[in-house]
């Protein structure tokens, strides 16, 4: 099979999955399926699927609206309705989209929720977001799962027990009630086995950046790779197949000594290897990425690809402890780690993937990520003596992406990296 054809196969698989989901959503009523709005970090995909519900992820709608250049209008619409300029723009984009008829990324109307599953992890805004949506959809049932924060850098048995009790006494009975389907633990276990398999593949995929040149970009392309696992396909055969395929394609790239694929084709020379903290900007995603690949910078690890679950430390879903394992999953998402844990995780990435630098993209409206980033940066700089870079943008508000500012900052940063490399080379001679 040619390189080109292999590359396409995983993409085709992903496209089919996503389109399939949106088609099903468009026909949810006809299909007799209940619709569950939920969030990505701490998502209970497997449980949702156990009850045959279709998931909707408001964050995904928001980011896709941004990529289609619609978010600016939606945000303005929400701001006209008392939403502040200073809060999470995902929320405003979603609310604005709702006000404008709730037409989703594929051009079809997103069905109203039967369930608002507030399984939120590592961000208070999620809670407020669903409080807002509940007022828009008074008939939807809100099911709340409170995920304790890993404040002491661990998941204690009490925390797990607290969550399991919530699943048993609140989530499952309410899901049974809404769907009329009886909870089937064996079904859930089968899915969790598949989740585990997909997670093994994902870990292997993101680990391939150890190679030089790195065969993938773990941030800009990474967000596509985590798509299926994040939007409800964890626990399915499709996801396993997708990740296997992707892994094979990447192996082939390694064999051929190729670098990552960018929107403008193969990246020719890997000059800098970076680790990035913080979500990407979605309104100018391509331009943003281009600044990096034009400079020969490849991202070998990013925290953002871990918001839907941190698998590189070895944690996996475990079918033999289904509900406990769901609880641990929720607690084990990136923004649910405390700051010292985040620092350790990023430091590990920088060391293991031999990064030349560390860059923070600070998102104006996301306190969950941003508050504390400056302290993290300083600690990483001190600990690893690695050059750090800092840029600011926003998720989906086009008003807060300043191309020239970001470009200038990054160019100076790359100059610094270049000088450092030169010195290192001189020293080693």
């Amino acid at each position: 099979m040619s390189q080109e054809a292999q590359k396409e196969k995983s993409m085709i698989l992903q496209k089919e999955m996503v389109e399939g989901l949106f088609n099903d959503l468009a026909q949810a009523k006809e299909l007799g399926k209940k619709v569950c709005y939920t969030f990505i970090p701490g998502n209970l995909s497997e449980l949702i699927r156990t009850f045959d519900m279709l998931p909707v992820y408001p964050e995904i709608n928001a980011l896709q609206s941004a990529m289609r250049k619609k978010s600016g209008g939606y945000i303005k619409e929400a701001e006209k309705n008392a939403h502040s300029e200073d809060v999470c723009t995902y929320v405003k984009c979603d609310v604005g989209m709702l006000m404008k008829g709730n037409i989703g990324p594929t051009g079809t109307k997103i069905p109203e929720p039967d369930v608002l599953l507030l399984s939120y992890t590592g961000c208070f805004t999620f809670m407020k977001w669903f409080e807002t949506l509940k007022r828009e959809y008074p008939n939807a049932k809100v099911i709340m799962v409170h995920t304790p924060y890993q404040e002491n850098a661990k998941m204690t048995p009490q925390m797990v027990e607290y969550m399991v009790k919530q699943f048993k006494e609140e989530v499952i009975p309410q899901m049974e009630e809404v769907t009329g389907i009886k909870y089937d633990e064996a079904k859930l276990q089968r899915m969790l086995a598949l989740s585990k398999e997909a997670e093994d593949w994902i870990t292997k995929i993101f680990d391939t950046t150890k190679h030089k040149p790195s065969p993938i970009d773990a941030y800009f392309a990474g967000v596509y790779y985590i798509g299926p696992i994040n939007i409800g396909f964890r626990g399915t055969e499709q996801a396993v197949e997708y990740y296997k395929e992707l892994y094979n394609e990447i192996q082939e790239r390694i064999r051929l000594g190729l670098g990552p694929i960018t929107p403008e084709g193969e990246m020719k020379e890997e000059k800098y290897r970076l680790v990035v903290e913080g979500p990407p900007n979605w309104t100018s995603f391509r331009e943003f990425w281009k600044i990096f690949y034009d400079m020969g910078a490849v991202i070998v690890a990013s925290s953002y690809t871990k918001v839907g679950g941190v698998y590189d430390m070895g944690w996996r879903h475990d079918p033999s402890r289904p509900l406990e394992s769901l609880a641990e999953y929720c607690m084990n998402c990136y923004t649910n780690l405390n700051i010292p844990q985040r620092i350790d995780l990023l430091s590990k990435c920088i060391t293991e993937y031999q990064a030349d630098g560390y860059v923070t993209n600070s998102i104006k409206s996301c306190n969950s990520f941003s508050a504390g980033q400056l302290g993290m940066m300083r600690e990483i700089e001190d600990r690893l003596e690695v050059p750090v870079g800092f840029i600011e943008s926003d998720l989906v508000d086009p008003r807060y992406f300043s191309y020239s500012n970001i470009k200038n900052r990054l160019e100076s940063y790359f100059q610094m990296l270049a000088q450092r490399k030169m010195l290192e080379e001189q020293e080693s001679q």
């Binding site: 008392a82 208070f124 407020k128 807002t132 007022r135 924060y149 404040e151 941003s370 993290m376």
Partner: protein, 406 residues
Amino acid sequence: MKELKQIINECKELSFDLNFTRAKKWKEEKPGRVLVGYMPIYFPREIIHAAGGMPVGIFGGGDRKQIIKGDAYYQSYICHIPRSIMELALDKHMDHIDGFIFPSICDVIRNLSGIFKQHKLGKFVKYMDFPQNFLPQIGGVFYQQEMEHVLEYIKEINGVEVTTEKLNHSIELYNKNRQLISLIYDIRQEYPWRLSIEDVYHIVRAGTVIPVEEHNEILEQVCAHIKQNIGVPQDKIKVVISGAFCEQPAVGLIKAIEEAGCYVVDDDYMLGSRMILGDIDATTNKPLEAISNSYINQSQYSSSIYDVHNPKENRLAKIVKDRGANGVIFASASFCDPSLLDAPIFQNAFNKMGIRYIAFQYSENINQFKVIKEQVGAFSDSIKLWEDEPAAVSNINLTATDSCKH
């Protein structure tokens, strides 16, 4: 009994003593005493007291602390309070405080707990995760475990084992504290001119940095004074302040609102001191359970508590009604997610209910209130002007809106 003026002056001193001198002195008086700092909003102070400790409210530096180092920790689009708390920590204002509690209110405070851990500030740093599940057998149990965790930390420092008796005694003292604060608000509802909101603020805030026993004495004296017919009524409207539960507005701003023509008859400035409505059962042999039940069943509405089954807009509207207020002033700290994300919920509901409001943002260190004063003045004038108009339609059953002219 001390003169009211003297009491107020003392409270003023205490509440903005950024070195927490009274607390420090208290600690030095006896071995085994510990000081536990807690960040704004609610924390069950009873348990610290029962463990031989003193809870110390850390509410930022207000306009009394210039921020230099703290700015290096927080981007410009993050509220002001975490940087002023960092400044206090780095400038060693809190060196005698043994441990720090960060109640779950938002992601900023949460991550600030991590920065404290990173810098190894204090002997312990605890992010206090309040349950968002309100079933006693689920969220209640979790809450008790969280309190036990705090107690373990204190025990590691002073070896004190809390007993049922000690806890019940502490609960009683804080019940008394809440009753007295509540009485002040009740008296002011009728006679707001007897004590300005600025004075109330200082009196309540002082209670967060001194022993509760001393604060109760102060409150008793204040109540005795304001039960008297003192002061002169002025032509002002009555308002409720909402949204200022964490980063505190500068005192000048608190004052400016009343000066601009409003009596503030309720507020959420020092919400933590008033979070639990009514008494906590001080007679059970399971006091931690009693505290947890009070959180589950008797909490004031708050932006940090998931509210779908008890919507906050109705709860705030009820306060407006019960206090006979003419309107609401939404005052949010700039970039305060919980407050700003709640604002549309409140405002959309109030538009429908016919409750009048204005909204503005502040930062703890601003000391230019001209614009806010003008805004509040115009608000007060417009309410006075429309006094004879019937209340607008209200879609919830609230006779309160009789007094909320639209």
